[in-house]
Assembly symmetry: C2
Homo-oligomer: 191 residues x 2
C-alpha cells in the first residue's frame, strides 16, 4: 500500500505540470486549443454568454456539466441598468486573470513560491470612438495600466525577470498588445 | 399634468441617447472614460476580480452599490478545478458582448429595429506559446472567429453596412484587432 503525495507549488501539481510539458514536447499537436463562447442579446446593453465546451489536448473537453453564464450590462450613464459589468470591464478581468495565472505557472516552473499576488487595472477610453463622432479617435482602450503587487521567496531581480517573461507570454496580454485577426461572418438561423 | 413617454428602440432610450451624443459634441471631454478592475490571486489557476467604480461623463460613477465579482479558473486539463471560466474564455465573452452592444447602439442610431442577435465565437491558441516551449509560437489567440445571427427590419445591404461599421467601432474588437499598449508596474503593499 502506498501513500500518494501530490507536491504542489503555488497551488499547481508539479508532477502533472511537468508531465504535461513533456507530453507537449513529445507531440506539439496536443498544445492546440480552441476556446468558445456563445452570446445572446437580451435588450439594450444587456446580453448573456454561455461558456462550456472547448477543444484541447487532442479531444473535446467534457469536464463542465453545466455552462458558465455571464451577463454584460451597462451603467445608467451608458443607458443601461447595471445588469452586469460591461464588456470593456470584462476585458480587464480577463487580462488581470491571465497575467496572474501566467505568473503563477512560470513562478512554479522556476521553483519560486508566491505568497501574494494582486493587481489593479485601469484603462482609458474616449467614447467618441465607439459613437463614431470623430473618426480620428481610436474606439478601443488607448492604454491599459496594471499595478501588480507580488510577494515571493526570490530576489527582486528574479521577480523582475519573471514579470518580463510573463508580459510576453500571457495569452490575453499578447492578444491585447499585438494585432489579432477577428473574422466576422454573418449567418442565418437556418445555417 | 403631462405623461412622460420614453421612446425606445432596441431597448435604448432614444431621446437620452441623442442628448448624450449632443452633450459630447458640445464638450468632447465628457467622452473620456476610465474603467477599472482589481484582482486577487486565490491559489493555482484561481483568482477573483472586483469591478465597481469608473470615471466617465466628467465624474466618478457611484451607481453600483456593491461590486461585481468574477472568478477565473481553469479546467482539469489545465491543472484547475473549473473554479470559473478561464481568462481567455472571458475575453471571448467580452468580445461577444461588445460586438452585440455596438450593433444595438448603431442600429438604433440608424433607425434599424433588431429582432434577434446572437453570436458564436471560437478562438485558436497554441499553448506552446504560453508555456514558452517555442518562442516562434504566438501566445495569444491566433485568430478569433465570430458567427453572428442577426435579424432586423432593414435590407441585407443596410445590415452589411452596419456590421462593417460595428467591426471598426467596437471598443473590445478594436482593442483585440489593433496593438494596444499595456503598461505594467510592480508595486509593493506599502505604495
Amino acid at each position: 500500500m502506498s501513500t500518494q503525495v501530490t507536491k504542489k507549488l503555488n497551488g499547481l501539481p508539479l508532477t502533472q505540470m511537468m508531465e504535461t510539458v513533456g507530453a507537449i514536447k513529445n507531440d506539439p499537436a496536443i498544445a492546440q486549443f480552441q476556446f468558445r463562447a456563445s452570446n445572446k442579446w437580451i435588450d439594450g446593453g444587456e446580453n448573456r454568454s454561455m461558456i462550456q465546451d472547448f477543444y484541447g489536448a487532442g479531444r473535446e473537453d467534457d469536464s463542465r456539466e453545466v455552462p458558465f453564464e455571464f451577463t454584460n450590462g451597462e451603467p445608467p450613464v451608458l443607458l443601461g441598468g447595471n445588469e452586469g459589468a460591461n464588456p470593456v470591464e470584462f476585458l480587464l478581468h480577463a487580462l488581470a486573470g491571465c497575467m496572474t495565472t501566467t505568473m503563477v505557472i512560470h513562478a512554479a516552473a522556476r521553483g519560486i513560491r508566491l505568497t501574494e499576488l494582486s493587481t489593479e487595472l485601469e484603462g482609458d477610453m474616449d467614447l467618441q470612438g465607439l459613437l463614431g463622432l470623430d473618426e480620428g479617435v481610436f474606439p478601443g482602450y488607448e492604454q491599459i495600466r496594471i499595478k501588480m503587487n507580488v510577494e515571493a521567496d526570490c530576489s527582486d531581480k528574479e521577480l523582475e525577470d519573471l514579470l518580463e517573461f510573463v508580459r510576453g507570454h500571457s495569452p490575453v496580454c499578447t492578444t491585447v498588445c499585438k494585432p489579432v485577426p477577428v473574422v466576422i461572418e454573418r449567418v442565418t438561423s437556418s445555417n
